[in-house]
C-alpha cells in the first residue's frame, strides 16, 4: 500500500505543477476550440514534465475571461506548497505511525488554504476561486487531492488527539506519551538483564499504560499514533519479553470440571435406580366384534 501511495503521490505532485503552470487545462475541453483541444489532448498523453513545457506555449492563447485570476492562481500555488509539505511530513511518519503528532500543523495549514479556496467569499477582483479551481472540469483535481488526504486524516482518527484549530496535541495524548516513554525506558533498563525481572519490575508501568489506554478506548479519544504505540508495546511485552500470564492452574481447573461432569452421571444413575418408573395404564376401547373383519385379515394374508 505505502509504496503505491508514494508513487501516485509523486505523480500527483508533478501533475499538480503542470496544472499550476498551464493554468486551465480543464477549461480547454469546454471551450471547444478544435485545434487547441487536439493539442491539449495530445499533451495529456505526454509525460507530465514534457507537457508542462509544451503547455507553456499555449498559455497566452486563451481569451481573457476564461483564465483564472491572479488571486486564484496564487491560492493554488500556496495550496500546492502546503500539500507538498504535508505529504513530505506524512511519508517518513508512516512506520512507526506518527502521522498525527508530527504532521498535524501542516494538515492544519492545508485545510486552511483549502477552505479559503472553497469558500464562496469573493476575493479581490470580484472573483470566487471555488468555481474556477474546484469544479470547472471533470477531473476536479484540487478537490480530489484534498479529499484523499482528508480521508486519510479521518481514517487515522487524528482529530481525537489534536486540539481544536490544530494548535497542539491534547493533554490526554501528551499524558499517554509520557507514560509510554516511562514504560519504554523501563523496558530498556531491564532488557539486557533477566527477562523475568523485567516482567515484574515494569509491570506497574505497563499496567498503568494499559489502564490509560483502556480508558481512552472507551472514551473514543484515541488516534492511530496511540493505537500503534500501544500495539507495539503490547507485542514487546507479550511476544518479545513473554510476560503474558502462564497457564499454571491446570490441575484445579481439571479437578473442578471433572467433578462437575461427574454430577450428571450420579444424577441419572440415582434417578434410574431410585425413581419410580412411570407406567401407563392401557385402556381397551370398545370395538365392534365381527367375524367378517377377522376374515378379512385372513383373506388379506393368504
Amino acid at each position: 500500500m505505502s509504496p503505491y501511495r508514494h508513487s501516485s503521490f509523486w505523480g500527483f505532485i508533478v501533475f499538480n505543477i503542470y496544472v499550476l503552470v498551464s493554468g486551465d487545462g480543464g477549461n480547454l475541453t469546454a471551450s471547444e476550440i478544435p485545434p487547441l483541444s487536439s493539442v491539449v489532448l495530445s499533451s495529456a498523453v505526454f509525460k507530465p514534465g514534457l507537457g508542462s513545457v509544451l503547455s507553456l506555449n499555449l498559455l497566452s492563447s486563451f481569451p481573457e475571461d476564461l483564465e483564472i485570476s491572479d488571486y486564484c492562481s496564487e491560492l493554488l500555488h500556496i495550496f500546492g506548497q502546503r500539500y507538498v509539505a504535508y505529504v513530505n511530513c506524512l511519508v517518513p511518519a508512516a512506520r512507526p505511525v506518527k502521522v498525527c503528532q508530527n504532521c498535524f500543523s501542516s494538515y492544519g495549514s492545508l485545510t486552511e488554504i483549502f477552505s479559503n479556496i472553497s469558500s464562496d467569499q469573493v476575493g479581490p477582483g470580484n472573483v470566487s476561486c471555488r468555481d474556477s479551481l474546484l469544479r470547472s472540469d471533470r477531473l476536479m483535481l484540487v478537490y480530489e487531492l484534498y479529499e484523499n488526504l482528508k480521508v486519510l486524516w479521518e481514517k487515522s482518527d487524528c482529530h481525537n488527539c489534536i486540539t481544536k484549530g490544530f494548535q497542539n496535541l491534547t493533554s490526554d495524548t501528551l499524558h499517554f506519551m509520557t507514560i509510554l516513554n516511562q514504560t519504554l525506558t523501563c523496558f530498556e533498563q531491564y532488557q539486557q538483564k533477566n527477562k523475568t525481572e523485567l516482567c515484574t519490575n515494569c509491570k506497574t508501568d505497563y499496567k498503568n499504560l494499559n489502564v490509560l489506554y483502556g480508558g481512552m478506548e472507551k472514551n473514543k479519544t484515541m488516534c492511530i499514533d496511540i493505537e500503534d504505540a500501544m500495539n507495539m508495546t503490547r507485542r514487546l511485552w507479550s511476544k518479545n519479553f513473554n510476560c503474558s500470564f502462564p497457564r499454571e492452574e491446570t490441575v484445579p481447573v481439571i479437578a473442578v470440571s471433572s467433578f462437575m461432569l461427574f454430577l450428571p452421571i450420579i444424577f441419572y444413575l440415582s434417578s434410574f435406580l431410585h425413581s419410580e418408573q412411570k407406567k401407563r395404564k392401557l385402556i381397551h376401547p370398545n370395538r365392534a366384534k365381527s367375524y367378517s373383519s377377522l376374515m378379512n385379515i385372513q383373506d388379506n394374508r393368504s
Partner: protein, 799 residues
C-alpha cells in the same frame, strides 16, 4: 422403531420384560399367519369388545387368561395414544340456535365481523412483536450483565490465579438462572417446556392440547425463555416465539381472559374452536415472523403445519399479521438501539447481510452444497436418535418436578464447565478486530491485544456466535477450534432439548451447522490451491447451518423461505433449497424429524396428511368404536347426568336418536350433541317441565354457549336435584341435526380424508337404515400407522 424400544428396555424393570408395548398388533404383514383365536397379545384388544356374545367369549377364554396374567401397565413408549388429548370442534354446529342467530344478523353485521377479523390479526401481530421485543431486550441486558461480571472475574483471576473460582462462579450463575426458569416451568406450567412447536403443530392439526394457549402458559414461556437463554444453555429464543404468538392469538381473538376473569365484551363471535384455530395459525405465523424477520416464511410455516383449512382471505390476513409483527419488533428495537426509524432489525435473530462478493456461488459448488446437505441429514438423524432415547428415559424416570429442576440445573452447570474448559485449553488466539465484532472478548493466556477465539463461540449468546461464524473474516477460527466446538455443542444441544425449560432448538442447530459448515469451507480452501478465491467460509457456514437445521427439524418449504428471508439474500434460494431437500431425504431414511418424535412420545393422536398406505382394506366397521352411547331426542335428565358423570367413558359426542317404538334394534340417527352443549343445558336447566311452568323463562341463545367456552365446567360442579333428575330434556333445538355419517363399508383412507379435510371430531357410522352402529373419532384413526412391519396399531393409554 420397535427395536429402539427394545434397546431402551434395559431401563424397564424385570416385571415387564414382555415389553408388551411394542407395536405388535400387526393387522397384516405379520410374519406367520395365525388363526384368529390365537391372536397376539396386542390384537386381543379386538377380542374383548363388550358386545361380544356368550359363545364368542367362550371361544376366546384362553386369550382372556393370558390377558389377565399380563400387567395392564406398561412403561411409556412412543406407541401409545393418550386419552387426555381431544379434538377441536372445527366443524360448525348447525343447530337451530345457530340458524336463528344467522337470520338475525344483518348484512352489516357480517361486514363488521370481517373487519374485526382484520383488527384481531393486526393486534396479534402487534402484541407478538412486542413480546419478541421484550424478550430480546431483557435477554440482552441480563446476558450483558452476566458476561460482564464473569469476564471481569476471569480477568482478575487470570492475573492472581484461581481460575477455578471463575469456573464455579460461571456455573453457579448459569444454574441459578436456569433454576428459576425450570421451577416456573416444572411446577407451574409443564406444557410451556420445550420449544412449543410440537404443541402448536398438534393444535393446528386439530388436537386440543390442554392449557396450551392459556395466558399463564405465555407468561411462563416468556419468563422461562429469558431464564434459559441468559442461563447459557445451548438453546435459542426463536422456537418459543411461535408458541407465544399462538397464545397471543388465542387470547386476543377471544376478547377476554378467563385467567384474569376479565371480559371486554368484544369479539364474542370468535369464541369457538373454528375461529380460534384460524387465529392461532395467524399467531404462529406472527411468531415465526418476529423470530426470524421472515413474514413470508411465517405464513408458509402455518401453511405447512396446519394447512387443512385454508382460503385466500385467511392467508392474506395471516400475512398481514406477520408483517405487522416483524414491523413492530423492528420499530421498537430501533427505539431501544437509539436509532428510531431505522428499521434494520426485522427479527430476533439477525443473520446479518452477506456482502456481495461472498454472495456469489458457482455452478460447481452445487454438488458440494448437496454433500453438505447429506452430512446435515446424517448428523440431524444422529441428533434425533440420541434425543429420542434421552426423552424416553426422561419420561420414564425423570418425571418428578424436583428432579426436572435438578436436571436442568445440572445441564446448565455442565454447559458452563465444558465451555470454560474448552476456552481454558484453547490455544487459538486472534488479534482484536478494529470494529470489535466480539462483544465480550476474553484474553486469558493470549498475548495482550489478542483474544481467545474459542471464547467468541462459547462465551456469548448463541445468536451472536452464529452471526460471527457467518461473517467473521476468513482466518478468524482455526479448524481445531471449530471441530471441538461442533462436537461439544452437538452433544450439549442434544442433551438440552427436552429439559423442563422453555427453549428452542433452532439456534443450537444453526450454530452446530454453522460451525461444521465453516470448518468444511476452511478445509475446502486448504485442499484446493486456488481455493481461497471462492471458498468463503461464511457461505459454507450458512449452508451447514441450513443443512443441520433441516436434518433435525425436517421442515421444507417454510424453512427455505425463512433462511432466505433471514439472510436477506434471494441468490441463496436454490442452494438452500437443495441443501434442505438432501438433508430431509437422508435424515428421513433413518428417523423422523425431532418435532414428530416428540409428538409421538407425547402420545398425541396426530393425523398426518394421508391415511397410512396399504390401509384400504380396513373399513369403518373395524375402525369405529362400538357400541355407541346414544341419547334420545327427548331424554331424561338423570340419564344424561349419569352418562356424563361416568368417568370410565369420557365421551364427548353423543349421537341423538329417535327410538322406533318398542324395538330393541339400535335407533335411527337424527343428530349429534356434544358434552359441552349438554353441560351448558344442564347448567341453565333447560328442562321441558320447567319451560312449561315458567313461560317467561329466557330462551337459551348461542351466546350462552359461547360464554362458557372454552372452559366448560365439569359435570361434577353442576348440581342436579333428585326432582330434576326426573325431568326431561328436549335436545331438538341444540343438537347438530345433520352430522356427517358414513356407511360401514367405507374404507379407512376415505374416512381419514373426510376427517382431515373437514376437521371433524365425530363421524357417525350408520347402517343402511340410518341406525347408529358406531362412532369414529380422531383416536380411532390416529392409532394406525405404518411401521417397519407394515400396518401397526397404537394402544390407548391413560397418561
Amino acid at each position: 422403531m420397535a427395536n429402539i424400544t427394545k434397546k431402551v428396555s434395559w431401563s424397564s424393570r424385570a416385571d415387564e420384560s414382555g415389553a408388551t408395548g411394542e407395536g405388535t398388533p400387526l393387522l397384516n404383514g405379520s410374519e406367520q399367519p395365525r388363526h384368529s383365536r390365537q391372536l397376539s397379545e396386542g390384537r386381543s384388544i379386538f377380542q374383548i369388545g363388550r358386545l361380544s356374545t356368550v359363545d364368542l367369549e367362550e371361544e376366546i377364554t384362553s386369550d382372556e387368561d393370558s390377558l389377565r396374567g399380563r400387567p395392564k401397565e406398561i412403561p411409556h413408549n412412543e406407541k401409545l395414544l393418550s386419552l387426555k388429548y381431544e379434538s377441536l370442534d372445527y366443524d360448525n354446529i348447525e343447530n337451530q340456535l345457530f340458524l336463528e342467530e344467522e337470520r338475525r344478523m344483518s348484512h352489516m353485521g357480517f361486514r363488521c365481523l370481517e373487519i374485526s377479523r382484520w383488527v384481531v390479526c393486526g393486534l396479534i401481530g402487534f402484541l407478538t412483536g412486542l413480546i419478541a421485543c421484550f424478550i430480546d431486550i431483557v435477554v440482552e441486558e441480563l446476558a450483558g450483565i452476566k458476561y460482564q461480571v464473569v469476564k471481569e472475574n476471569i480477568e482478575k483471576f487470570t492475573e492472581v490465579g484461581g481460575l477455578s473460582i471463575s469456573l464455579i462462579l460461571w456455573a453457579v450463575f448459569n444454574s441459578a438462572f436456569v433454576m428459576v426458569g425450570a421451577i416456573i416451568v416444572a411446577y407451574f406450567e409443564p406444557i410451556a417446556a420445550g420449544s412449543g412447536i410440537p404443541q402448536i403443530k398438534c393444535y393446528l392439526n386439530g388436537v386440543k392440547i390442554p392449557r396450551v394457549v392459556r395466558l399463564k402458559t405465555l407468561v411462563v414461556k416468556v419468563g422461562g425463555v429469558i431464564c434459559s437463554v441468559v442461563g447459557g444453555l445451548a438453546v435459542g429464543k426463536e422456537g418459543p416465539m411461535i408458541h407465544s404468538g399462538a397464545v397471543v392469538a388465542a387470547g386476543v381473538s377471544q376478547g377476554r381472559s378467563t385467567s384474569l376473569k376479565r371480559d371486554f365484551k368484544i369479539f364474542e363471535y370468535f369464541r369457538r374452536d373454528t375461529e380460534k384455530r384460524d387465529f392461532v395459525s395467524a399467531g404462529a405465523a406472527a411468531g415465526v415472523s418476529a423470530a426470524f424477520g421472515a413474514p413470508v416464511g411465517g405464513v408458509l410455516f402455518s401453511l405447512e403445519e396446519g394447512a387443512s383449512f385454508w382460503n385466500q382471505m385467511l392467508t392474506w390476513r395471516i400475512f398481514f399479521a406477520s408483517m405487522i409483527s416483524t414491523f413492530t419488533l423492528n420499530f421498537f428495537l430501533s427505539i431501544y438501539h437509539n436509532k428510531p426509524g431505522d428499521l434494520s432489525n426485522p427479527g430476533l435473530i439477525n443473520f446479518g447481510r452477506f456482502e456481495t462478493e461472498s454472495v456469489a456461488y458457482n455452478l460447481y459448488e452445487i454438488p458440494l452444497f448437496i454433500a453438505m446437505g447429506a452430512i446435515g441429514g446424517l448428523l440431524g438423524a444422529l441428533f434425533n436418535v440420541l434425543n429420542y432415547w434421552l426423552t424416553i428415559f426422561r419420561i420414564r424416570y425423570v418425571h418428578r418436578p424436583c428432579l426436572q429442576v435438578m436436571e436442568a440445573m445440572l445441564v446448565a452447570a455442565v454447559t458452563a464447565t465444558v465451555s470454560f474448559t474448552m476456552i481454558y485449553f484453547s490455544n487459538d488466539c486472534q488479534p482484536l478486530g478494529p470494529d470489535h465484532t466480539e462483544e465480550y472478548p476474553l484474553q486469558l493466556f493470549c498475548a495482550d491485544g489478542e483474544y481467545n477465539s474459542m471464547a467468541t463461540a462459547f462465551f456469548n449468546t448463541p445468536e451472536r456466535s452464529v452471526r460471527s461464524l457467518f461473517h467473521n473474516q476468513p482466518g478468524t477460527y482455526n479448524p481445531l477450534t471449530l471441530g471441538l466446538f461442533t462436537l461439544t455443542y452437538f452433544f450439549l444441544a442434544c442433551w438440552t432439548y427436552g429439559l423442563a425449560v422453555s427453549a428452542g432448538v433452532f439456534i443450537p442447530s444453526l450454530l452446530i451447522g454453522a460451525a461444521w459448515g465453516r470448518l468444511f469451507g476452511i478445509l475446502l480452501a486448504s485442499i484446493t490451491t486456488t481455493g481461497s478465491t471462492w471458498a468463503v467460509p461464511g457461505k459454507y457456514a450458512l449452508m451447514g447451518a441450513a443443512a443441520q437445521l433441516g436434518g433435525i427439524v425436517r421442515m421444507t418449504l417454510s424453512l427455505t423461505v425463512i433462511m432466505v428471508e433471514a439472510t436477506g439474500n434471494i441468490t441463496y434460494g436454490l442452494p438452500i433449497m437443495l441443501v434442505l431437500m438432501t438433508s430431509k431425504i437422508v435424515g428421513d431414511y433413518f428417523v423422523e424429524g425431532l418435532y414428530d418424535i416428540h409428538i409421538k412420545l407425547q402420545s398425541v393422536p396426530f393425523l398426518h396428511w394421508e391415511a397410512p398406505a396399504t390401509s384400504h382394506w380396513l373399513t369403518a366397521r373395524e375402525v369405529m368404536s362400538s357400541p355407541v352411547t346414544c341419547l334420545n331426542r327427548i331424554e331424561k335428565v338423570g340419564t344424561i347426568v349419569d352418562i356424563l358423570s361416568n368417568t370410565s367413558t369420557n365421551h364427548n359426542g353423543f349421537p341423538v336418536v329417535v327410538q322406533v317404538a318398542g324395538n330393541d334394534e339400535p335407533a335411527k340417527l337424527c343428530g349429534l350433541i356434544l358434552r359441552s352443549q349438554l353441560i351448558v343445558l344442564l347448567k341453565h336447566k333447560v328442562f321441558v317441565e320447567l319451560a312449561r311452568s315458567r313461560l317467561t323463562h329466557r330462551k337459551l341463545q348461542l351466546k350462552d354457549f359461547r360464554d362458557a367456552y372454552p372452559r366448560f365446567p365439569p359435570i361434577q360442579s353442576i348440581h342436579v336435584s333428585q326432582d330434576e333428575r326426573e325431568c326431561m330434556m328436549d335436545l331438538m333445538e341444540f343438537m347438530n341435526a345433520t352430522p356427517y355419517t358414513v356407511p360401514q363399508e367405507t374404507s379407512l383412507p376415505r374416512v381419514f380424508k373426510l376427517f382431515r379435510a373437514l376437521g371433524l371430531r365425530h363421524l357417525v357410522v350408520v347402517d343402511d337404515e340410518n341406525r347408529v352402529v358406531g362412532l369414529v373419532t380422531r383416536k380411532d384413526l390416529a392409532r394406525y400407522h405404518l411401521g417397519k412391519h407394515g400396518l401397526e396399531e397404537l394402544q390407548l393409554a391413560q397418561t
